[in-house]
Each structure stands twice: as C-alpha cells, then as structure tokens.
Subunit: 272 residues, 2 copies
C-alpha cells in the first residue's frame, strides 16, 4: 500500500499476542523483525512495542524489543508502557525520535516524564485522562486536551510532536461513547489545528462481536471528524481498505490516485 495521509502506529508487536510472547520467551529476534518489516511494508509510520504482560522484567524486555527492531530496520518506535523505569530504559535503547505511548494529565507522572521527554527529544501521545479519571463527555476531553497541549508546549515540545488521544470508550458500556469521542475529535481539531489527533480504534468495539467491522466503520468517522493518526494493525486488509476509501472520500488522496492504484493492484478488500 502506498503511504497514507493517515499516520499509522502499527500495533502488532504487543506481548499480549501469543506469538509475540513466545518470541520474547525464546529470544527469537527473527519473529520480532518479521513483524516489524511486515508492518512497515503495509504502511506503518511508527511501530508500537508493548511488554506490559511482563511486569517484573518489562524494562529489560522493552529495551530488547527496541534493539531487536532497530538493529534490522530504521523505524521509529512507539514505546507503550505505563512504567516510568521501563520507559527510561527503552528510550535509552532507542535510535532517532521515539514516540511515548502515553502520558496523561497527572501531575506526579508528568513531573517524572517531562525531563525524559526533553532529554530524548520525544514525540508524545497525550491521553485526555486527568488523575486517573477517563472523561465521559466531549467537553471534558477538549478541556483536558487544551491543558495537556499547554503543559507540553511550555515544556518545549513542538505542536507536531504532540498526539492527543481522546481515549474512546466502548459503546458496549455507554451508547453515547462513540458520539462523544467523535465530537471531541472535531472540537479538538477546531481548537488545536496544529497538533495530531490519535484514534485508538480498538477501544470502541471492546466486548462486542465483529470487532473488525466496527473498527473499520469507526475509523473513517474519526478521520472525517479530525483524527489524523491511528493505532491499528496495518496488515489487516479490511481496515487498510477503509483507510484508502476514507482518504479518497475526504480529499486526502489527490485525484484518488492512491485509491485507484490500490484497487488496480487488488489491495482493497472490496468485492467490486
């Protein structure tokens, strides 16, 4: 697939997947490097690495994942951890500009992370969570997003290195969860035109059947509302076909050339 206008964070190198946990346990670099290469070929801009299921050895494993991928491929990683020590070790192992996944508006954690962000010239995913509270309404999300951007810009980050994540919640839990997130995307895009907005697609479909269908339906709605970045599996042809169609429909694919090329090459999952 040709590069998309959407910035794609490939989600496959996550130890909660059995094949990744097995590769970690076996120290099998080839499996990790294969997963990395596949995702880059499919159009990923960042590769997420997550070893959260190993709380006792998270720092060591995360650093190993970073070195394993980057010894083979020149790709920026998204360091996905809630553990500040693991983050520090992984950032030290990382070459180039990493993406931190993620920070939120929690003073204590922010104070420990900002020096690391500055030291490693990171880009940052900033979740609209304040002191452990995930907002319900669009307004709360927008309010926290504005505060986050203020703090991060004051800390010296460029707007283009800030990825606001409005933290979609599952529609299985609250019927208006999807709509509130879409409203948040639109209003954050309106208030903060220069930052990135991330859609953590899989959140909305949590605990429902047919998640792939829900995810590939939600992402175009999120893109129309202002999201320009997504955490997805770029090797999932159905969701990549949705992305290609959405970009053509939203005028982010000049003369629809990427869409037409992908269709001609048989890369769209659509039947006609």
């Amino acid at each position: 697939m040709s590069p998309t206008a959407l910035t794609i964070i490939g989600e496959r190198i996550n130890a909660s997947r059995k094949s990744i946990a097995r590769a970690i346990d076996d120290g099998d670099e080839a499996v990790i490097q294969h997963e990395a290469g596949m995702q880059l070929d499919a159009g990923a801009n960042f590769l997420d690495v997550n070893a959260g299921i190993y709380p006792d050895r998270e720092a060591q494993i995360l650093a190993w994942l970073v070195r394993t991928v980057q010894s083979d491929l020149n790709a920026p990683l998204s360091i996905d951890t809630t553990n500040p020590d693991a983050l520090k070790v992984a950032l030290e192992a990382h070459q180039g500009k990493p993406l931190i996944n993620s920070i939120s508006l929690e003073k204590e954690r922010m104070d420990s992370l900002l020096p690391l962000v500055r030291e490693h010239s990171c880009a940052v995913i900033a979740q609209t969570i304040e002191s452990g509270h995930i907002p319900v309404t669009a307004e709360e999300r927008v309010d926290i997003a504005v505060q986050l951007v203020d703090v991060l810009v004051k800390a010296g980050l460029d707007a283009e290195d800030i990825y606001i994540d409005p933290v979609p919640q599952p529609v299985s839990m609250a019927g208006d969860a999807g709509m509130e997130t879409l409203k948040a995307f639109a209003e954050i895009r309106n208030r903060l035109p220069n930052i990135h907005i991330l859609c953590r697609v899989g959140n909305v479909s949590f605990q429902l059947p047919g998640r792939s269908l829900l995810d590939r339906t939600f992402l175009p709605m999120a893109m129309a509302a202002g999201a320009d970045t997504a955490i997805i599996d770029p090797c999932n042809n159905d969701i990549m076909a949705s992305v290609a169609a959405a970009e053509a429909l939203l005028g982010r694919d000049e003369f629809c050339m990427r869409y037409i090329t992908a269709h001609r090459e048989g890369k769209l999952a659509g039947k006609d």
Copy 2:
C-alpha cells in the same frame, strides 16, 4: 435485518437496471413484486420507482410500477422522476403517503409541483439545487436547504415530511466534494434539527472503481454528520453491515442489541 434507525429508500426498482427494464417490457409483475418484497424484507422503508429511461411512456410505466408493487404489498413508494406529468399520474395511482423524489429550488417547477404535493399529502425529497445549479460549497447547500424548508413549511408540509438532499458530488471530479457534503450534513442538522437529511450515497463514488467499498465507507461518515435517511440497495449485505455497525457506534441501537443480533444471525459481512 431488524428495522434500522436509518430510514432506507430501496433503490432497486429502477429501469436503468436490465432486469427491471426486461420486466417492464414483458409486463412481468412477479419480477417487480419480488424486487419489492426482497427490499422490504431487508429493511427498506420506502421503495424507489424510476422509469426515466422511457421518456415517451414514463407516466404510464411509472403508474404501472406503483400499481404492481402496491397490489401485492402495502409499502410507500418513492416516486423518482423529473417529469411533472409522470409524477402526477404516478401519484394518482399511489395508495397512502408517497415520497416525491425529488423537487429543488426552481420557481417554475416548484409552482407546478406544490399543488400536487398538497393534494396527495406527500412527503418530499428536496434537493439543494437552485435553478439548475448544483452547489460546490457546504455554505451554498445550507443556504438553499433553509430556503427550501421555508417554502415547503409555508406550503403546509410538516418538518417530518421533508427530506433535504444536499446532493453529494463525485470525489472523482473534485477532491473536496465529500468533505463539503459532510459539512453540509452537519450544518443542516444543526440549523434544521427536525427535518430529515438524505444521503444519496452512490453519488460520491461515481466513476471510481470499488464503488461498494466507497459507499459503505461514506454512509457512516454521513450518518455521524447528521444524515438519517439513505438511498441504497438494502439487499447489499456489505452496506447493511456498515449501517448496523454505524448505528451501534453512534448510539442509535440501544445496548447494541440489533448489531449483536445481526452478528449472531450471520447477517453481518464482517469476517470476525
């Protein structure tokens, strides 16, 4: 499929389809009635009838289509013609409240149609077209929509019988055509909360390959922006799966029960 929150106008009884033209030429009522029944079973709320490819006999054929469907099934039809004489004859043949597809902001045509609308207590699709000019921007569409609703309400129509069609244009012709239509949906919904907004889905994908993929990607974006009615083929499982997913995601399917039921019954095209 259980009834959707989306109002669906089934598009299959259109003489531009070869099987329908053949049925018309043969006077084969069973084919027309079968197409009508299939669409109602699949969730259509209105059945569109179009005989525009027969300019010389359009009135006679349209009236025959109306009588043929309604002698078998109690379903409201969407009378799809630009010919006022054909419309008049078809309306006289119609039982119950018909939907006129369509009127626009053209004084001469409006003057000839409004008496018919009143006489037959019609619902009306009103296109945001003024004197033959199809708008380019969202603002023009909104402006015409406001004028149309004003004229129609003054003529005695209830808001719930007005279906505004912002006339999407093909993204193959202009890259911003999709985005301008989505903006128009949102602003018309904002300005005119009580009227229906129609998405004529197939317009945007005109002259592109993979139209089914484009259509099922655009409709959820249109629904998120405020469209509550669509002209589609309800027998296309892919687009109906998109509708079911979009309604679950947008909070228009309480506890996602219709979506979960459709998934359990194997009616969603999604692979997982």
